[in-house]
């Protein structure tokens, strides 16, 4: 679409391997043109004239980690919106959370790879509607500090608001010059963290969760990476905790200790012991 910097097969091989190693994002040879286009945008923005120079920057420079986060953001489609596929979230709010509360447990929910935050904020709104928001702890994370800053600011344009149910505006969203703003008490109900799903977490970084939501992320990973990320999520879940992945992201072909369970037409993966 935009003018891409030239990308030889050799540079594609080393650059895509480096990006996969650091972010998990996998690109096949057939996707070389798309990859070149997306990476070129960042490389040019950063002031590089060739993708080989940019590769060496990512490989050797001290600022590479921050740049990789921005690159990951450019590579994936941060195309999310409020109340996107809400059914599983509603089941969490109607059934899973009350069940945990009834057992005297304060539910902890992690929205992994939350992008600009529409999903955890939707969850917060649903919990608020059910009168449960202050009884639940929500953590939302992404690899990119920039998108997290966006989420914390709580300002959204029309594209993020395209599936809003009528009851939402005025109750949790208020008009703003450029679109809508999420009420601060909703945005504050979420703890925002910068986390790369590929990295091993620091022991103190995250506690265990009763529910992990990780939707539309695994599609970017190769099978081996999916297994390792899902294994990490498994370790972050409390016994019999719930993992929610995207509708097109089945884990059935992987050797993972989860049982697939159906609740009201939505599918969850329930943690099993190994």
């Amino acid at each position: 679409m935009t003018a891409s910097l030239p990308l030889s097969p050799q540079v594609f091989a080393i650059l895509s391997a480096l990006i996969e190693e650091r972010t998990g994002l996998h690109y096949d040879l057939q996707e070389r043109a798309l990859f070149a286009e997306r990476v070129s945008g960042r490389a040019t923005e950063r002031g590089f004239e060739t993708l080989l120079d940019y590769y060496y920057f990512l490989r050797y420079d001290a600022a590479a980690d921050a740049e990789l986060a921005l690159l990951a953001e450019a590579l994936v489609v941060n195309e999310t919106y409020f109340f996107r596929e809400p059914a599983p979230l509603e089941i969490l709010v109607d059934e899973v959370v009350p069940g945990l509360l009834a057992r005297g447990i304060k539910p902890r929910i992690w929205c992994a790879a939350c992008s600009t935050g529409e999903e955890p904020l939707t969850l917060a709104m649903l919990l608020d509607e059910a009168g449960l928001l202050d009884q639940v702890s929500i953590v939302a994370s992404d690899i990119s500090a920039r998108v997290l800053a966006h989420a914390q600011a709580g300002l959204y344009r029309r594209r993020s608001l395209r599936a809003l149910p009528p009851r939402v505006v005025g109750r949790w969203l208020e008009g703003h010059e450029h679109g809508m703003r999420v009420l601060p008490r909703i945005a504050r109900a979420v703890a925002w963290r910068r986390i790369n799903l590929i990295d091993e977490p620091e022991p103190s970084e995250l506690e265990s969760f009763h529910v992990i939501i990780c939707r539309n992320v695994l599609i970017y990973f190769r099978d081996q990476t999916i297994e390792s990320v899902v294994d990490r999520l498994w370790r972050q879940l409390s016994p019999e905790g719930y993992l929610l992945v995207g509708a097109s992201e089945s884990l059935l072909r992987f050797k993972v200790a989860f049982a697939c369970v159906e609740q009201r037409g939505a599918f969850f993966y329930r943690k099993q012991s190994k």
């Binding site: 050799q10 920057f57 420079d61 029309r158």
Partner: protein
Amino acid sequence: MRSASASPPLGEHERLERVKNLAQAGLPAVAQLVDELVDASWTVRRAVVAALATSESAAMPVLIEILRSSRENEAKIAGLVDALSATAHPIDELLLTLASADQVAVVCDAAQILGRRESTRGVTKLKELTQHADDNVALAAVEALGRIGGREALESLLILADSRNFFRTFPTIDILGRSGDSRALRTLLRLSVDPLYGAEAVRALGRLGDPSALPALLDQLTRASGGLLGAIAIALVGIHDVTEQRFGTGSVVEHQVSGSAKVSELRQRLTLGLERADAAEQLALSQVLSWIGEESTVPTLLGLLRGGPAVAERAARSLKRLGTVAEAQLIAAVHAGTSEERRLLVPLLGGKRSARDQLIACLDDEDPTVRALSCDALARTSDPVAVPAIFPLLADIDARVGQAALAAIQTLGSDDTRRLTLAAAFSADARLRRAALRVIGYFGYAEGLDALIDASRSGDERLREAALASLPFIDDLRAQHELLEAAHHESPRTRTFAVRALGHTSGDPTVLAQLRSGLGDSDAWVRYYACQALGRLRDDTATEQIALLLEDAFGQVRVAAVEALAHLRGARAFEILSHVLGAGDADLNRAALLAVGLSKRAEALPHLLEALASTEAATRLVALSALAELGVPGALPAIATATRDADEGVRVAATGFLAARSDLAATNELIALLLDAPTRQSLIRALAKPAPDRCQAIAAALSHADDLSAEALVATLARMQSEEALATLRSALASANDAARRASASALVALQDVASAAALERAALSDPDAEVRRICSASLVR
């Protein structure tokens, strides 16, 4: 209560270990190993199947006996069938005996295994089984014969299809369609008009992909109704796709449809079919309508753009094919469309001047992707009237849009561009100003020099960078002077940009001296670009200084030193590079491999061949590129071997390097590879690139090729689209080799080669081979 003696269940890892131990125990443990096929884990079961398939030959009768006598567990049976299908031991005789067993289920398994093993020895028995009293056995035999293929298997399938026994004819039609064997054509055509089997036979004709079926299908289309309309459209598209894949063009299909004497009836029927069609049928019907140039199909195609990536891609192709017929509706759809719809529609209007105003309107879309796509589409109109509208997008909040706008403006040029750029070069909007500075450099606007100098002295670092990047492209000594000044700037980034820009100058002694001084800069990126620039400017006097940087603390500097030495090419530089090969740092090693390739020295060959055996695919790929660059005779066999590398990237690159060579040796390597793997499309594409003597070499190979190879060789000639290639195809029609005549006849019919009309007509009447006569008769029908 748990028994005290019960041991805990084994984990998967332990169970896999047990499978390994049982496999090592050999024949005595085979029955035990078979029992492991009921394990709950798929991984364990796969390991058992692999162990059984590779167990000693004496184990095979044991496995077959278990399969015959122990039928209580489905998982066990499935595992045994898999293992016996995969084993390399000669077990055909045992299987033929098994296929005579009393139990129907056992016979079915035997038939399946014979098919999966593609056992030609099993054909006679399988033919017999197609007449078995039990339909399941007959079906298993039919499927097995389909897998085995070949003349004898096909003939039995043709007889079976004509038997009109519902439970046997139906699956046989499907198998015939998938056979790819044009001898199935007549039978399928006969069945296509049968009320019971018609739709299934039509689908099979589409899968078969033989254009000879077109007249009959088109005739049937004028009378068809209901679901058959969709089935025929799908078949027409199928034939189109197969022909396109074989010969690089499906135009014979498009032309037969659009040139049909009954085109108005066809149009009416196809449009009627759209009303009740499902999504797949709608797509096919619309595609066929687009060949006719039918405007009324546009709304359907527009709707299909929302139907998922594969459907949308085909619908877009059809809309493109409709061209100007669809233009007005496309423009209206863009006008009324949402951002999502515009994402799909705007690319279809790329280059259309009539859509200019609507595309300009899309520059204001709230979706940045639409804005960027609109810039791209406007750039392709080559209409500079759009420049003033695109210009403000240089300052777009979304970087991708800014990039697209910049690319569009660079493509479109114009006096407006000059005026707007020079004005924007002093804009208060930093983003717009930076973009304008880049445009000044791109077009080399000499009047923009003052703006560049002003910006290169700005307090804004990014502005300085944009100005410095453009300065080397202004033909004025003041520009070079400014860069030399900036190379001493206190900001490392500014020095970096200045040094990099100096590398783009002509490299007079002052510049070279400054660059050599840059090799000792405190900032790694300044040293990096100083190396790069000195290499590019071929400053041999810097060789030793650059060599010292091979020990630099920063990886990027070490790599840049290697790359610079590669460009210097002196004997000393090569000697230094040879020492770097095999370095622990993979990047350094790869850079050295490329460097020795660039040196074009024969001494580099052993280093590169060694690197081709690396366990890292990226290193093999770099070594391969270097070998190709080296261009010495010993490189060719290694490149040919790399076309079979385990890594796809290496394989594709190796094929590409062979294709890029125009010498006869490379052509012969490609032909040898193609004869070895006639279905590999990448090889067909590679060999289809014109090169001296290539047609002659292909003609020589055609003279003794079998059917499959002849088809592949002919496909390369058809895709060349040159007069020489056509002449070679025409000559092949007179070859003594039946396979060459069959393949070339198919190609000449598909290419609608007018000059061959008389020869095809003669062949249709008098060729000694019936298949050639049949293929050529299709051209007579038209």
